[in-house]
């Protein structure tokens, strides 16, 4: 991933910045120019609560090369208290401890690194437990 692209995505990856539609209140993560719910064009920037509930999960055993030293790793779909959804790794867990409905905290972790000379990339990662 190039530096400009990575830099552009920092507000979401580091700070969980989302958009709340000024028309219907729908929260979009990431923020959008057009609300997917009502078509409204105005959103206020909010920060998501760094916590949520697991809606589904999987343990990835066969990964793309960039991730294959860390297998198996758990990835989950998480819903935050605002109703936003995101996909994130669940770190520091035994896959057998993970279950649908369990609570997670969202923490800033190193997510990937781009080869030996590339940049380190950080972002939100889920950890089992309440905030």
């Amino acid at each position: 991933m190039t530096v400009p692209r990575y830099t552009r995505e920092i507000p979401q990856r580091y700070r969980l910045e989302a958009g709340r539609c000024e028309g219907c209140g729908k929260v979009s993560f990431p923020p959008r120019q057009v609300c997917p719910s009502c078509g409204g064009r105005k959103q206020e920037t909010i920060r998501l609560e760094p916590s949520g509930t697991i809606l589904s999960y999987t343990a990835v055993h066969v990964a793309a090369e960039e991730f294959d030293t860390g297998t198996p790793f758990v990835v989950a779909v998480v819903e935050t208290p605002e109703g936003a959804r995101l996909t994130a790794q669940v770190a520091d867990c035994d896959p057998s401890e993970v279950a649908i409905g369990k609570k997670v905290r969202l923490e800033l972790r190193r997510v990937r690194e781009e080869g030996k000379a590339g940049i380190l990339q950080y972002g939100y990662t889920a950890v089992l437990g309440s905030a």
């Binding site: 995505e9 979401q12 990856r13 993560f29 990431p30 997917p36 809606l55 589904s56 999960y57 999987t58 343990a59 990835v60 055993h61 066969v62 990964a63 793309a64 090369e65 960039e66 991730f67 860390g70 198996p72 790793f73 990835v75 989950a76 779909v77 959804r85 995101l86 996909t87 994130a88 790794q89 896959p95 649908i100 997510v111 990937r112 990339q121 972002g123 990662t125």
Partner: protein, 383 residues
């Protein structure tokens, strides 16, 4: 109003075709389709391919393939909708014929996946790169999220998912063009390597090279050509959010329901009229969810119905008589057209050992990504 017909089909064998390049595979399938149709020229061409840029570092393949097909000069371009690229190419060809702009149009699909590229990484580009793939989720992983949710909500079992693969391999064993022409048993699936829990290797369609093509023209012109006539009753497409997590229910794929509903409206038909059906079984769970989306079974009961034989060759509605993506192989951009190849063979009565007696109307359901795109075709044999 004009009506469209498919008058010619062609496809390569599916498999790891080390000796064939992308352009060779496409040309083989396209020349076979043109010969099958008996036309002396094509006026335009659409090529469905998910990612020749990543798989063989080649873009601009519309012109390249028209040149190698010996038709340089005609309008030709690539269309892309991930694994629904083939279906989309056919839809564009049908629309061009229906519009009256052209009378004979070729739709092809091709993917060359085994030239040494990290296929898992390339396929993941069909997911949201910024908000799904960033954290390492793979395509099997996305469908595993659906499978886990389906098991939790509906009680779908590992064994039921395995039975989808067993059925499709039983069909593929009879298909001379299939990548895996061998039957498997439930235990083979349940003990195969974990790919993304709960999905195992034999729940997943393989990495495949291959191409398929179809010639589309008007029903009027098809009658003049005098060959078997397959009328296009519907050609529809629907989309959804690219990211799986943005959809309200992880156990459904609403784009499928939308595209199928519109197809039945356009064709003035219902599911009861369908004799044979190819669905996009990129993973076993996908076939189960599609069965529910098209209204064949109630949500949650697809697994038990597969185990009971509803969709076997001798069942009420045979699904994936070709072997499906699972056994026939899944060269992603070609799969949508290869599904139509099987339906046309069934409607012509030329499907050999896989033939469903009396099949007259068939449907092909082709899907991209985790279901953000779905293309549906309904075809009917006209005597």
């Amino acid at each position: 109003m004009r009506e469209a017909a498919i008058v010619g089909i062609g496809m390569t064998d599916f498999g790891e075709l080390w000796g064939s390049s992308l352009r060779q595979m496409f040309t083989e399938a396209a020349t076979a389709a043109i010969e099958d149709a008996g036309v002396d020229h094509i006026e335009s061409m659409y090529v469905g391919s998910m990612s020749p840029g990543l798989f063989v570092h080649q873009e601009h393949i519309g012109a390249l393939l028209a040149d190698y097909l010996g038709v340089a000069g005609i309008p030709a371009g690539r269309v892309e909708s991930a694994c629904a690229s083939g279906g989309l190419a056919l839809r564009q060809a049908v629309l061009e014929v229906l519009s009256g702009v052209s009378e004979v149009v070729l739709a092809g699909g091709v993917e060359k996946m085994t030239d040494g590229v990290d296929a898992t990484d390339a396929l993941a580009t069909a997911a949201d790169q910024e908000y799904e793939a960033f954290g390492g989720i793979t395509f099997p992983g996305l469908y595993a999220l659906m499978a886990r949710a389906h098991m939790e909500k509906h009680g779908t079992t590992r064994e039921q998912m395995a039975d989808v693969a067993v059925k499709n391999h039983a069909n593929g064993a009879l298909n001379p063009r299939a990548q895996f022409r061998r039957p498997i048993e439930r235990a083979d699936v349940l003990t195969s390597t974990l790919v993304a829990d709960p999905l195992r290797l034999l729940d997943c369609s393989p990495i495949t090279d291959g191409a398929a093509a179809a010639v589309v023209t008007t029903v009027e012109r098809a009658r003049e050509l005098g060959g078997p006539l397959i009328r296009v009753r519907a050609s529809t497409m629907a989309t959804d959010s690219l990211a799986l997590h943005d959809r309200p229910d992880l156990t459904s794929i609403p784009s499928v329901g939308r595209a199928v509903k519109r197809a039945f409206q356009d064709a003035d038909l219902t599911l009861d009229d369908i004799d044979v059906l190819e669905v996009h079984d990129c993973f076993t769970i996908a076939e189960l969810v599609v069965m529910e989306e098209i209204g064949l079974v109630e949500p949650g009961s697809s697994g038990q119905e597969v185990t009971a034989g509803l969709t076997a060759r001798d069942g009420k509605l045979p699904i994936n008589t070709s072997g499906g993506l699972k056994s026939k192989g899944h060269p992603v951009g070609a799969s949508g057209i290869a599904q139509v190849f099987e339906i046309v063979e069934q409607l012509r009565g030329s499907a050999g050992e896989r033939q469903i007696e009396g099949a007259r109307i068939g449907m092909a359901q082709n899907m991209g990504g985790s279901g953000a795109s779905c293309v549906v075709h309904i075809l009917e044999a006209i005597s």
